[in-house]
Symmetry: C2
Subunit: 602 residues, 2 copies
């Protein structure tokens, strides 16, 4: 079936349902960053395979919104269909809300599957309509593409497993006490938790339902007396539940069918409900209408971000494993380059995966690898695929942003490597980014300092020279969970409302990833993971600092020493010495010799 | 009458009114930082003369809350009365709300003059009672001390004047259009404006109703059709109004009695009202109860913070005048010191005032001068008076934080001067503070950056060494208005709700004042005023920077050059060269020679 035929079928269904405009987002029912194939309705209906995009269909027209990283790909993929590409963020392109405002007149109906839209998103659309004084009907109880997509993939059914205490560091019941404490503080009777990383963290379970994210497709209700877990069929013999069912029951968790939450929500006890409107979907929100619902950052999110001692110990081990694999990869990479062997971006990604897979307790990559040679590096979210894949040349940089999940935790590292040789300008720019990374990594700061203060340190070397990078400096990283997790973040905008910059706390693990991107030329990013720790407590207060968990050398060939202060040179040498002493012992003689070279004092 | 006798009279009145606890704050009816004598009920009733404090009287007990800077003074002043001193912020001292919660049981009545409490403060108290599930009655329509204070000063009646266009830079009517635009955006029918600096700014009037703040005691109502100014008797022949009445009428402003706003508020048209709950008093708030009141930062506050081109040009001139006076003072100071002349803190303040008063268009000091020798310097808000005044010795530092109002604008400057000689440790600490001042003053940053990012630059040299100062790094400064004004501020805590850190904008003028305080030894603060300007716009975005308006040399005797980078040395030398070239021409030969010496290259 062509895309245009699918759209015609959709319009027929829209007419039957009296829907004037139908909206197809890219989300799953949980507001996840990455989704499994079952949820890719937008891709199925539009033919556009990028991860982010919104398809809006009226009786006369179909438009696809996507962002800068996908403009070229979307043009290509949409060219045989009637769908018009709307380049989100470009001048003269209305925002999605403005577009909806333009195609919907009062009394008309906007339709979508309310389970695929967060409550916050729909409330935003409704608020926009109100500001335009338009009375738009919302029909959110329809999944029209479902009726067209006859060969739709099934819901993911990976076998969930229990994350043992040696990895989780804290029992489910201990965590539950903390969550119920937060509920009490807000006088809440019920807490509706639908974000998959929060559920996995709280229950100490993991799965494989989303690529690169070891999550379990599920929902959770916590009342004052009960905890109800909605997953699979809810039966012990369901493959999904088979390895965790007894564990759940022994913890007095009620297990029900994945979809049963939509029935249960109407009849839960209590009137005050906690829910995160950026996480619960609109259908859940509507079912809570008669309650007093308090919009909060999920208490689990806040608790999860502060790693416990076991998680911290394990995270250090995960980074040692990751570094051993990475150094082996680097040796291969530098040798290949030296000997003039042809090598593609995908080859690089494959080699890194190969080395990581050999390490004990490797689970999976923690996100789609970014290996970006030359100009590809300037495309911030570039990931190589069969079409874009290119051979590495001997000029410029290759930017490699990859990570792994181990049972001991999650890594996320970017190194920018010289391909044989680089220019003076390239070395200068690399060094400016490195200065930012060093400044943030060595920061000392008072308790109460937020990511917006810390961000300045990473950007200063660039800002001083009128340069910048158009992304955050740091994101929280989950423990064998999402590689991006809040609430900790390092960015200069302070946010607002419940998404305001939060103070950096002992135990939080965040990325430190300044960059620089020269369109059409190359990209630079240097990313370490940093653990927030207490430094000292004295008459001036409590001071915190970071420990860099990542243990992979910077590329010495890319450094312009003349731009570094004596202190920065010491920082680099100390870091490289620490790497050698920490991971040298896990390497063969030859590998260790290589490591010695690439960590040589400068 | 003794304080105890006053309290007994108060208790008799409390009984008559069925009030169990009476609360006397230090505020005026406008939430002002400084208040005129009429409003000093707390001082009259308690005998404590400090600027900040709260007196809480029950039938059995009277307690006075004040903060750290006043502990010693309060002890002394309260010692002959029954009042017990509660050291706010000390361990084991309950917060004011907690204390109220302890002395008030359900159904009891808390009394105060609602005009002397901001709406936000009372709402906070009420919320606290709610969280304790206590039903406390509020009686806010009483001013009991009024009946005791027979020789109470009159309301201030200074003659207001119009600030001419050459100083204001923008007409009242142009400003009104902007304010009404903001009202429209919020769909507001009425804007209630009671903060005195906002009113003076909007109407382009000034007065002398509050010491060091050229304000006019008044209220303002802006509806869609009308602007009503409540001031004095509202009659042309009132001294207060005599010089501005015709101006007001010609601008179609209705003039009414100062107190008439309390009658008018009940009958204004329209249902949606804008008001800043941190500024309007509780009585005003209660009169708006039947309306839909939107709590906002006053739109005038936001508009006022971005100075126009005329104000900026004038502010530069004001700082030149201030610097000329300051250099003359410095010459006198250094000569006195050298010749071993006795000199007290008050002498220093008087000499500075004398030099400033000689400058054209001098209006007044912009706040009570802080001249703090040695250990006094470590008391952050110390101001010398007859009791505390001491002679300057020849050791350590004197910290001088002073400022002036000119028709061309307002200055606020702190210099920390060596008294003859200082120790190596003192020089090191001075230099660390200076490094912070230089880093902030030379910052380059992207549009959208808030004070919380910028704050890091000023604190980094101290934080790196486990030191800190317990105050903000910068506050907005008004134009011939309050020396402290929002919303711009430089501090690492990001705030919340409507008091969140705001982006620094072109035209904002802010202080840059890192410090360091060693209790019992000395204090260091170095404060310049900085103007935010555009630096460049390029492919990475718009970059901003600061121009340092203050033109007074740092004390070279206090600098430890070995702690400075080459860049910092250049910054100091460039700054001193700029000072010499800008103000040298206004000085006598001898003064210029002195300036040459104190701005010599290092």
């Amino acid at each position: 079936m062509t895309v245009n035929e699918k759209l015609e079928q959709l319009r027929t269904l829209m007419k039957e349902e009296n829907i004037d405009v139908y909206y197809i987002p890219s989300d799953d029912f949980h507001g996840s960053e990455f989704v499994s194939d079952y949820f890719k309705e937008r891709e199925y209906m539009s033919g556009f395979t990028g991860s982010a995009g919104t398809l809006i269909v009226t009786m006369e027209k179909a438009v696809l919104y996507t962002d800068g990283r996908y403009f070229l790909q979307a043009e290509e993929e949409l060219k045989d269909s009637e769908i018009e590409l709307y380049r989100d963020g470009s001048k003269d392109v209305p925002s999605i809300n403005e577009y909806l405002g333009a195609v919907l007149n009062s009394k008309m109906t906007l339709g979508f599957d309310g389970r695929c839209m967060t409550a916050a998103k729909v409330l935003g659309i409704q608020k926009f309509f109100e500001s335009q004084e338009k009375e738009i009907q919302i029909q959110a109880a329809v999944d029209l593409p479902e009726k067209i997509w006859t060969d739709r993939p099934k819901l993911p059914d990976s076998r969930a497993f229990v994350l043992r205490a040696e990895y989780s560091g804290k029992s489910y019941l201990d965590k539950l006490v903390k969550v119920r404490d937060e509920m009490k503080k807000k006088n809440a009777d019920t807490f509706v938790l639908t974000s998959l990383d929060d559920i996995a963290w709280l229950l100490n379970i993991r799965g494989d339902d989303v690529k690169c994210s070891p999550l379990v497709l599920s929902n959770l209700l916590i009342t004052r007396k009960q905890v109800i877990f909605y997953c699979g069929t809810g039966e012990k013999d369901d493959k999904k539940l088979s390895n965790i069912y007894d564990y759940l029951i022994s913890n007095e968790i009620v297990v029900r069918d994945y979809f049963a939450i939509y029935e249960d929500l109407t009849q839960i006890e209590g009137k005050v409900v906690l829910a995160d409107f950026d996480k619960i979907n609109f259908t859940v929100y509507e079912l809570l209408k008669d309650r007093q619902v308090i919009d909060v950052v999920n208490p689990t999110t806040v608790l999860k971000a502060v790693k416990n001692q076991t998680e911290i110990k394990n995270m250090r081990e995960a980074h040692i494993k990751d570094a051993v694999a990475y150094v082996r990869f680097l040796k291969w990479f530098k040798e290949q380059m030296k000997s003039g062997q042809q090598m593609t971006e995908l080859d690089v990604a494959a080699k890194l995966l190969e080395e990581r897979s050999k390490m004990e307790h490797f689970v999976s990559e923690s996100f789609e690898p970014i290996v970006a040679y030359g100009a590809h590096g300037a495309i911030v979210h570039y990931s190589p695929d069969e079409d874009s894949n290119c051979c590495l040349g001997n000029q410029s940089f290759v930017l490699i942003d990859t990570g792994a999940h181990f049972l001991e935790g999650t890594t996320d590292i970017t190194r920018t490597l010289v391909c044989t040789k680089c220019s003076e300008e390239e070395r200068q720019n690399y060094t400016l980014v490195l200065k930012g990374n060093l400044a943030l990594g060595s920061a000392v700061f008072k308790q109460g300092t937020t990511g917006s203060s810390l961000d300045m340190l990473a950007r200063k070397p660039l800002w001083d020279r009128g340069m910048d990078y158009n992304h955050g400096t740091g994101h929280g990283v989950g423990y064998l969970l999402n590689v991006h997790e809040g609430p900790n973040a390092i960015r200069y905008r302070v946010g607002s409302g419940k998404n305001i910059s939060v103070p950096m706390k002992e135990g939080m693990i965040t990325s430190n990833e300044p960059g620089l991107y020269l369109a059409g030329k190359y990209g630079i990013r240097i990313e370490n993971m940093i653990l927030c720790k207490k430094k000292e407590e004295n008459e001036y207060g409590t001071f915190l600092e970071f420990e860099t968990l990542t243990l992979v050398p910077f590329d010495l060939d890319a450094i312009d020493k003349s731009l570094l202060s004596a202190e920065e040179i010491t920082q680099i040498n100390d870091y490289h010495r620490r790497i050698y002493h920490t991971i040298g012992k896990y390497l063969s003689d030859e590998e260790r010799k290589f490591l010695k070279q690439i960590t040589a004092e400068i």
